[in-house]
Symmetry: C2
Amino acid sequence: MSRIAYVNGRYVPHRQATVSIEDRGLQFADGVYEVTAVRSGQLIDETPHLERLKYSLSELRIAMPLALGALRFVQREIIARNRIADGIVYIQVTRGAARRDHPFPAGASPTLIVTGRNSKPNAAQADSGIAVITVPDIRWQRCDIKSVGLLANVLAKQAAREAGAWEAWFIDREGYITEGSSTNVWMVSQDGELVTRQADHSILNGITRRTIQRLCGDLQLRLVERPISVSEIAQAREAFVTSATSFVMPVVKLNGHELSDGVPGALARRLRAEYLRLADRPKAASRR
Amino acid sequence: MSRIAYVNGRYVPHRQATVSIEDRGLQFADGVYEVTAVRSGQLIDETPHLERLKYSLSELRIAMPLALGALRFVQREIIARNRIADGIVYIQVTRGAARRDHPFPAGASPTLIVTGRNSKPNAAQADSGIAVITVPDIRWQRCDIKSVGLLANVLAKQAAREAGAWEAWFIDREGYITEGSSTNVWMVSQDGELVTRQADHSILNGITRRTIQRLCGDLQLRLVERPISVSEIAQAREAFVTSATSFVMPVVKLNGHELSDGVPGALARRLRAEYLRLADRPKAASRR
């Protein structure tokens, strides 16, 4: 079966799906995106992802290309037409195509792309835990906007791969971890506190991050939002990362050194299980 | 006459020229570009622009999509097919199209786009001088790479337009000007020194910047490379910006206040005239 993509109102074969060479997404990274996980054919946290899309667009003063209801419909069509059981739906919106010039163009219509695909489950990886490295955070200072300006993230993820690691954590000028190249970062401190960085302009406020925060409340876990230093996390009881596609992923190695005795931490495993249980609840209840 | 673009080996009508929705330029800003001015049908500083393209690609480990000689040929074809007298040629190279995933994809071929267009001369603007505003420099920390990750530049230029200005200067954390959203920044200090910021990772080392530096040598002007503060340039004898398309552009207003008594400075006007004289020299001599 060949993949089907949605581009500006039309469902087209994925291989033939294109945008103009003067799309501002291509020429200026003038666009934003969302990746939403699909599990058993159902979107996880669909509403918060669409709300964040609205936020990103609003910060850049790009119009929503479709009403939310229509966008929900397109996502379902993409899931159905691509027979997605477990995988992702990807939405990208750019400021549209226009004669190349930096300022916002008058009269351009936003470009809307929606794609989907099945992907392999990452349970085995969660069972063994992942390795991470650290890299300087050289990104721009509006990481709260989920823009497609991801070149620094690409370089960080590539550095991780070449070091035999799965993720790279960005370190700010003060030696604190901001976030991973595609994940938020968490630790369980020696005191048993669950810690993750506060959501400001230096990180993307992850949807999975927020779901886990709510879960912590439900489970009556102590949660603190503050910066985490590299030396502190190296000594932590456990560490893990969260994202829409990795869910909760335990970290067992940092810059080549064992973390959490080299095995996934108990709390990380528990939060992953709880998160997936929540995601697998019947649809009506899980539309948050 | 309809415009013609070059995309991956083919000359196609500009309106129909497209790239894949999974081009990494569109999804990750994983690409670079060059804008070269055309004057009387001739490229200005063609060789340094191609050398800088090679540098940007090399820093990102993207292969040159064509040999330099072939790329020169394509640029000439674009000039001829679009009958460009005075205007620009735009080159963009991305890491290519691949299933979306942050690390460098195995086996993707770089995407090469070359376009061109005529544009209006900016002599009147140079005669009156331009207004600029300042904005915080929130960009990433590898501005020496001419990547398409230009969202911060877009926002800065838009802010300038909305303030009735032509350019926005980025200010670093220490209060120094890094560069403009699409230009390098210069001043003539109260002591008569010509000053521009040193080329490091915080700015793009402009081709026009370098040509002007050489000109300064020829004209035996005192040139200093160091950071310039906002308060210092507000008191300077004169200020100007340089870029491939603005050449040398005098600045007469900064954040609403007159600069250089509100008229283009003598040295800026002289350097502009010398720069254009150099650009208009017969071809064989000007291929630098």
